[in-house]
Symmetry: C2
């Protein structure tokens, strides 16, 4: 197995580093519109399936019962940067279900957003579970557990009703029955279930279009997509790729990053789903792979808006442009 080089990093006149990867674009009937590399091997989707993990939050009735706002639904689908607005939103979600931050089982890390991390330290604060980029997802899991009247202390376990509901969503939308050995532990301690890229792309084609999906699930998906399109800053944060894409394209393009070079997305108008894995796990390359995939699928009028994300310039500590990333001719 040798996936193609999809992204190159240049410095001066030479290619300094190379990133291989695979990707699948399929429609809601599972027809392949574009594939590069090996797309049938199971891959952990990590946070790239957060919007699918958030479907039980709506389907269980939790979102309505606790009156979750669109911003809060967007944060349930987010890998957020830990900026003050993200923290406040996560806290509000917990309060709505009568909980506080002590219920979160995601573990603590410092905010991804460096100025926010520095401000936190400057104020004498320290990293908490609220700053974890997954705290919105976990707050959503807790709201779901409360609505289901399930145990709150074990919501991260594979056998818990919330995680079983998530697994059922993934199997339903991807059309794949997940084997027990395809389960691993994610960075925030919930299960991550491995699925082939083509099946993940199918799941996102269905998530994005509602085609071939039961009406209640299609409505839940549309509600999450609308929430993210309306509040793209809540899905990632200042300067982040997912936020910039959804700020530019609104409801026309849905994208979600995941750790270890994962990216999923959907083009609802075209009924297409996208799943990308950078072999080596580099987020910088997975972003360029997603931008190049979108550039191929969108019209020429949209390509100019993608250019800064398609060929990002790399600057050094003095702000000097020393090189950049670019997609290869494989696209």
């Amino acid at each position: 197995m040798s996936n193609p080089v999809l992204v190159e990093m240049l410095r001066g006149a030479l290619v300094e580093s190379r990133h291989r990867g695979a990707l699948a674009v399929v429609d809601a009937d599972g027809r392949r519109v574009l594939t590069l590399g090996e797309v049938e091997r199971p891959i952990y989707p990590r946070s790239a399936v957060k919007p699918l993990q958030a479907l039980p939050l709506i389907e269980s009735g939790a979102a309505d019962r606790y009156g979750l706002s669109a911003e809060e639904l967007a944060l349930a689908c987010a890998s957020h940067s830990g900026e003050p607005g993200h923290i406040a939103t996560a806290q509000r979600m917990l309060v709505r279900a009568g909980l506080d931050a002590s219920a979160l089982k995601c573990g603590a890390h410092w905010p991804i957003h460096q100025p926010s991390a520095q401000a936190l330290a400057r104020g004498g604060g320290t990293a908490t579970a609220l700053h974890n980029n997954c705290s919105g997802k976990h707050a959503g899991f807790l709201c779901t557990a409360c609505a289901l009247d399930a145990e709150r202390g074990t919501y991260i376990e594979p056998a818990h009703p919330v995680q079983r509901a998530v697994k059922a969503v993934l199997e339903n939308l991807s059309g794949v029955s997940i084997a027990p050995e395809a389960c691993a532990i994610d960075g925030c301690s919930v299960p991550t279930w491995a699925l082939p890229l083509d099946a993940l792309a199918l799941a996102f084609a269905r998530f994005g279009s509602g085609a071939g999906v039961a009406p209640e699930r299609a409505r839940a998906a549309a509600r999450l997509r609308a929430a993210c399109a309306a509040h793209p800053w809540h899905v990632a944060g200042t300067g982040r790729f997912c936020t910039e894409i959804m700020q530019r394209f609104g409801a026309r393009v849905y994208v979600k990053t995941g750790a270890e070079g994962m990216f999923c997305g959907a083009l609802p108008e075209q009924g297409l789903g996208i799943a990308i894995k950078c072999d080596d796990g580099a987020g910088r390359a997975a972003e360029v792979m997603m931008a190049a995939t979108l550039a191929r699928l969108l019209g020429s009028a949209d390509r100019a808006a993608l250019e800064p994300l398609l060929r990002p310039t790399l600057r050094n500590w003095n702000g000097i442009a020393v090189g950049g990333l670019r997609p290869t001719e494989a696209f």
Copy 2:
């Protein structure tokens, strides 16, 4: 060109990510002891050649003229973590040459060592050029410029006497004449000159053994090696790979990391030099590649000391072991 997969990252039962790369181990006569992948293509060595960049500091007479200590010489070869002790040492070097931090042209970044970065913010401080991981190297360049009575404001330019001296050292030790187009700008704004991995390995075989090197240069190399072996914390910092290797093996193993997946090293007793490049630029994989190379070259008694670096465990935000890195059978 397709270099072999040298390192795998596992999560649960599956390989989640893969890192390809190339490496060369040669003796001081240029005989290849071990090569994997393509080793004749020019590669930017980045900070992996810092000890070679520090040779003019001694050869120019600057180290003696300013009475630099062994700790200061080690810091001149370092990509340090910006811990308070590193900052104090860099400041001392500048003071010895009658300068201060305003002379540094490396640019500012926050300390790599996260507790030090947080303490800096907590105290109301901010990132300065002293915290840049290259500040010791730059302080060494400035000392050299002063000893050569050269301009201080332009010491980062390729045409400056300090950088020309560095280039001459690289050409002498590697046996390669560097073409003008092989020059790019490093993260700290000094030139980085591309050299093939086999030539870099030869340069380190000579740096490590002194074989085939003019006596004055061989003495300068031995002095830098001794300084780093005596003060491995000054070469990187708390918990860092280079520091841990040199703490374990002392003068028997010299290793130096560089950005974008570079690693160089030497086994002085065996007269061998090592140069490694992870194709995708991942430092985590370049470290495992170096550990696996050392495990192959050192005796079985030394292998146990390498084990934690050879197969590092990956833990999530709750400290749960979720996977790990391992070298492939290519080694």
